[in-house]
Symmetry: C2
DNA sequence: TAGGATATTGAACATGCGTTCAGTCGATCC
DNA sequence: GGATCGACTGAACGCATGTTCAATATCCTA
């Protein structure tokens, strides 16, 4: 496995990837940097040092290239799934997406998560399913509170975190935290995000009285056996 | 004020908006429906029943049109600010964005919130500032817990909610809740979102012991006067 | 080594985009 | 009535896009 973003690799080691892999990895970086709409076949070709025709030859179309990138990113995340599951709940819920293999992984996700794409939909579904498992492990180990709705909770927590990633520009501007930066965990400013997030995750936002009132308004007594 | 989305207005009442306003409102609906990249001047012109040249005549460029739409949406939200501030904290944090004026408002935001646009940045900054105020009111009224970092908390809560809106497709697929639907509050499935959200906001996710441990790992004793 | 298969190229194509522009029309003013 | 202005049109323009394609290069196998 390469330890830096392929596009930023300046080492003299020969590139042992196939042209196809090189193109695909360059495309991931381009999509991450320019966004989906502004990434053209010519930009990808230039980044991979091939011709536009070669890009189309390998992937059939830009659409095919996008699909291949989605699938590659999903595979990279899947490869780290065991690691996430074995490390249990973390304060930084996006940690497992800061892959050492693709420095652009988080930035790529930030660009594609809101796209209407079956591959991305599957990726998110898998991430939520994984979250449900490791949140369950957290309950078993006494770190997390039990819930009547493990799946709903996992979906909410995962989509909040992923949504924050998609809105990384605003997070950066407001709290000085760049969630697409693979090394954000080493940035002291990261605490600006972690502290309030952990506060909400730790004690909630509502007072006990208001929380009880809110819960009752959603599930009035006598209707608890739905 | 019109009470339905302009594009969906089938009443025979004469349209008293200027052509400029009609075009702008049609554009908001187009951006909401097709996204920013796939909304062309010809689509907007067709929706507004004018020529493409007329669109450009009024707004100078597609970029000018986008800016006008951002500003109009921001104004519509600003108009509802007093209402949000006077109603205090709500279980549904996106309620103030379900404008009766624009059925497409939430869907428009879902499309543009991740765009790199100064107008959108300002809009989000304003929303966070508003959130800080009404969360503060919630603390004063005893509904919400006090915090050492009102601004950080407001940013997190707002960006989580807005992020969930941006990822509305996944939310819909996973929990059957369409957050861009202006009438989602009347949909029984909305509880699928509210229950886990209120649970996390109510009691948090972490157990008391883990929350204390987590807080201490972020702010070790002896370093509390930062 | 020859031949077939595959990879790659750079030019060209077809299409659609945002924008420009000359002309028309209606309203207003002198 | 004529001049001016603003609104609007539809055709055309200049440009960029994704894709196609014929020619060439490279690789692999018998």
């Amino acid at each position: 496995m390469r330890s830096v973003d392929p596009l930023e690799d300046t080492s003299p080691a020969p590139d042992d990837r196939t042209t196809r892999a090189r193109i695909r990895d360059s495309a991931i970086s381009c999509f991450a940097k320019h966004g989906v709409a502004d990434t053209t076949v010519r930009k990808v070709a230039a980044a991979a040092d091939v011709s536009p025709g070669s890009v189309i030859h390998h992937f059939g179309s830009m659409e095919g290239l996008r699909l291949a990138c989605d699938q590659q990113v999903a595979a990279a995340i899947r490869d780290r799934k065991g690691e996430a599951l074995s490390s249990g709940p973390q304060l930084d819920m996006l940690a497992s997406l800061r892959s050492a293999e693709y420095g652009s992984l988080a930035a790529y996700l930030a660009q594609v998560l809101a796209e209407d794409s079956p591959a991305v939909a599957k990726l998110v579904d898998d991430l939520v399913a994984d979250a449900e498992v490791y949140l369950g492990q957290g309950v078993d180990s006494g770190m997390l509170r039990p819930t009547d709705d493990p799946r709903g909770r996992a979906a909410i927590v995962a989509l909040w975190s992923l949504g924050a990633l998609v809105l990384h520009r605003h997070m950066d501007r407001l709290l000085g935290v760049d969630l697409t930066n693979p090394d954000v965990a080493a940035d002291p400013a990261f605490l600006n995000y972690l502290r309030p997030a952990v506060e909400v995750m730790g004690t909630g936002l509502f007072t006990d009285a208001f929380a009880a009132q809110a819960k009752e308004s959603l599930d009035p007594p006598g209707e608890t056996d739905q």
